[in-house]
Symmetry: C2
Subunit: 218 residues, 2 copies
Amino acid sequence: MVKKSDGKRKISESTIKRLSLYYRALSLLEKENQETISSKELARREKLTPAQVRKDLSFFGSFGTRGLGYPVSELKQQISEILGVNRVWNVAMVGVGNIGSALVSYKEFQKQGFIIKLIFDNDQRKIGSNHKGLIVSDIREMARLLREHHIEIVILAVPAIVAQYIVDEVVAAGIKAILNFAPINLQVPPDVYLRTENMSMELEYLSFTLTNRRPPAE
Amino acid sequence: MVKKSDGKRKISESTIKRLSLYYRALSLLEKENQETISSKELARREKLTPAQVRKDLSFFGSFGTRGLGYPVSELKQQISEILGVNRVWNVAMVGVGNIGSALVSYKEFQKQGFIIKLIFDNDQRKIGSNHKGLIVSDIREMARLLREHHIEIVILAVPAIVAQYIVDEVVAAGIKAILNFAPINLQVPPDVYLRTENMSMELEYLSFTLTNRRPPAE
DNA sequence: CAGGGCATGTGAAACCTTTCACAATAAGAA
DNA sequence: TTCTTATTGTGAAAGGTTTCACATGCCCTG
């Protein structure tokens, strides 16, 4: 129940990503009114091993009951605290092209507490237009508006060619966490956390798998 | 230059994903008319180590010249063959909500040779409507149309609640590769390759990092 | 055409992650 | 209360990935 003493435990990226999976699964289980779940069943649902589930959770504490499993609601709550999603995050979207406007309407982000408060673009035709109740702001006002609205995370959905330029502005405005959808590797200072979502990568992975799968017969 | 004898080399997922990064970087370098690149410089651009770049490439052959580096165009061509993106892949989109229609317009997929040929939905109001030159088809016609158009990859952008039902239909239609954008873990037979793109996961990762970063001072 | 410089290709070492295997222990039955 | 059953929590082992370090060998200069 109690968290471990916070030594300089280094938690791996894979563990954090799996916590997201557990969180999603637990949310579903909670809706189904299931009270407890074993590592075995949780692992089956997320295509992992029971040992992995237990090991992942053990980095953060002892949440289960031997012989019984984990209490669904309580574990979900614990993971939400670990991931920091037990609160609201103010988010701004930069770029209102296809991807940007789709993500503004994407309810999953809101459900997890990531609330898009501001939208920016540099296209005069888009500035002032309404997207899901939000008015598109001029990117030249970004620094001031980000500060005024206490934005902590910026989602970048601009063309690759301008992405580095825009990210420099975002960094200059004091933002420390950026989720980038432009298909390019951006350079940021070491105190800024940048994650790049590369949607082509997954298609290329499928392409690789189809291309290199063992032939139908020998 | 010549590929290694195809033993039962097991190539790791991370290596394949990095090949995607190299491919993207090389495409840019080619546009900039750079003729050669060293592992050191390629690593710097993608925030990796030179040794990693060389090791990754060495699984597939010897593409570089000692003392000089790798020939940009040639290496790009080689990687495109490895990833299987030196050809066109026929793709179908299932679901024309926010994400689905954004991805239909996403030029990056086309540029990489992933051509969306068909769009499906089950909403009568959407069926027959035009998205970027493609008419939305009735999902009940999916099996026939997928076969007729030689579709090899399906992108799934439907609500989580119906995703398992739809993916069962896609599998029944004989599709072996699926890219899923629904935030849920889907079950497919072992001969079907499924990748799930979880966009909330990256935001949650940022949330975790912001929440657990070392405090400003001690 | 020989020699210096440079960057590759690659075994081996270091490091990291996952899996194993079992002691610990809570719940419920008898 | 004691016993049985189930499942956790976790060191240790196994397995996998990254980094090191250097021999190799190509290019270019003189």
